[in-house]
């Protein structure tokens, strides 16, 4: 085999190696598509989990509802800073100004919730 032939053979081998390496390497788009499929699956699982928990928590919710009925409760215990925040549905238009007329709201949770639209209606 001449030197020129040997060089041609080597270059053919190199090309084959490069082609093989390219074929063996995982394409970036494949990685992305698999990730997208996994994400879709996780999204589906999220909805499934929510539906399962809704069914599983029915008894728990019913017991809370029974407690509300038995104790004649009117509100959720979310904020305990001020009385008009603790019992949001029982609050009246004057309680935020209980310190002095024109007193500004100074409890952080008071600014988190918006004014219930039903509040003014009971004064009309």
């Amino acid at each position: 085999m001449t030197a020129a032939q040997a060089m041609t053979m080597r270059s053919i081998h190199d090309e084959k190696d490069i082609l093989n390496a390219t074929a063996n390497r995982v394409r970036k788009s494949s990685v992305f598509l698999v990730s997208a499929a996994t994400a879709t699956l996780l999204f589906g699982l999220m909805f499934l989990h929510a539906a399962w928990r809704q069914r599983a928590d029915l008894e728990l919710l019913a017991s809370k509802r029974m407690m509300v009925g038995a104790l004649q409760l009117t509100d959720l215990c979310l904020f305990t800073e001020a009385r008009y925040i603790r019992h949001l549905s029982q609050t009246d238009l004057h309680t935020p100004f209980q310190d002095h007329p024109g007193a500004l709201e100074h409890f952080p949770s008071g600014s988190l919730v918006s004014l219930p639209s039903t509040l003014t209606r009971s004064y009309e």
């Binding site: 394409r27 989990h49 959720l76 305990t80």
Partner: protein, 377 residues
């Protein structure tokens, strides 16, 4: 069809390589993007779950509560009002409710003290919510001291704790007998905090409420439907200060996205010029930018929504606790039932993914139609 798919995959390969080349910049962008989606989704999930929970649980709240007001303040209601209210046609029963607030000065915590119907424990015994037990580190059988309205001390024995699962409604509750309650607050006999009414026909509630105001003008009736609507309205994520905060965050993100999407760097413009020079068509260049937008925004969207779900329903929205807690000492430990709807996820998708993807296409189209020679210079 196959050749079309192969073309899209090749373009996607190229896009991902481009993104990987500028990984530092793109990764920072995805983190910020994910955080915005996470914040929006967390607020949405939390408010919706609370709304659903309130709507279900408060369905058994009193049909009608009657408060008395005096000089614009909630005042004790005389038991004599019961007779006037019972005489209204359609009213089945009127019951007095005894409840109030107790400020525990040593812990600076506010508690709700109530007298339940048929409290089956001896005088001097109380039932307490889990939040109080946690704050005081007390258990069944322990004692709890209170200061009466006349300054004397009252010692109560804890006869039991209210169930853990009910913390969202009972965390700060103290239940006691009527005589203990009246002695603690110095509330005179013949008075109650407010009255609850049961009606024969729920359709007549509004008519009865109007009649109550006519007969007793110093009273304020609150219908159960109003209680339910209160929770419907206050947890609307499109209202309140929450939306102001979110609007600020969204605006900051919009500026960032616009800057990233519209302000093509010199390198990116050169890249487009080279692609055009080697034979890429304008539509292919736009396709690259489209895929770039899809990859970045979808990654951030999926990560943000899933993290928000874990945050709200597995960690009880631990990051929002300092905001919700405010200055209060006591904070309920609650586990919310997840209510996730397609509507929520679609709204989030249209708020976050679509604007960014669209914003990436316009500038690249503008760059792609300029002469490649001038872009490469």
């Amino acid at each position: 069809m196959n050749s079309w798919i192969e073309k899209q995959r090749n373009i996607l390969d190229f896009t991902l390589s481009c993104l990987w080349r500028r990984k530092g910049k793109n990764l920072t962008f995805v983190i910020v993007y994910t955080f915005i989606v996470f914040l929006l989704a967390s607020v949405m999930f939390l408010t919706d779950a609370l709304k659903h929970e309130a709507a279900f649980v408060l369905k058994d709240a009193p049909e009608l509560v009657v408060q008395r007001t005096l000089a614009g303040r909630h005042e004790l209601i005389p038991a004599a009002y019961i007779r006037s209210l019972s005489a209204i046609r359609g009213v089945a029963a009127v019951k007095p409710r005894l409840w109030g607030y107790y400020f525990y000065s040593s812990l600076k915590a506010n508690y709700t003290v109530m007298v339940p119907d048929g409290f089956g424990h001896k005088e001097g015994n109380i039932l307490i919510g889990r939040g109080i037990a946690r704050t005081h580190d007390i258990h069944k059988g322990d004692s709890m001291w209170f200061a009466r309205s006349d300054g004397s001390a009252a010692n109560f024995t804890i006869a039991g704790l209210l169930p853990t699962e009910s913390e969202l409604i009972s965390s700060d509750l103290i239940l006691m007998g009527e005589s203990d309650f009246r002695r603690l607050f110095g509330m005179p006999e013949g008075y109650a905090t407010d009255l609850t009414l049961t009606v024969r026909n729920p359709k007549e509630l509004t008519t009865i409420a109007t009649k109550i105001v006519e007969i007793l003008p110093d009273t304020r009736p609150i219908i159960r439907d109003e209680i339910l609507r209160t929770y419907e309205a206050i947890f609307n994520w499109r209202q309140g200060i929450m939306v102001a905060i979110l609007f600020g965050a969204l605006l900051a993100f919009a500026i960032l996205a616009w800057e990233k999407a519209s302000g093509l760097s010199a390198d990116e413009k050169k890249e487009i010029g080279i692609l055009k020079a080697i034979g890429w068509e304008t539509s292919d260049v736009i396709l690259v930018r489209f895929w770039e937008g899809v990859v970045l925004s979808l990654t951030a969207f999926v990560a943000g929504v899933l993290l928000a779900y874990l945050h709200v329903f597995f960690s009880s929205a631990v990051l929002f606790e300092p905001i919700l807690k405010g200055w209060s000492v006591l904070y309920p430990k609650f586990r919310l039932t997840p209510f996730v709807s397609i509507y929520q996820v679609t709204t989030l998708f249209f708020l976050t993914v679509i604007p960014y993807t669209v914003a990436t296409i316009v500038p690249s189209w503008k760059a792609a139609i300029i002469d490649p020679d001038s872009q490469m210079r």
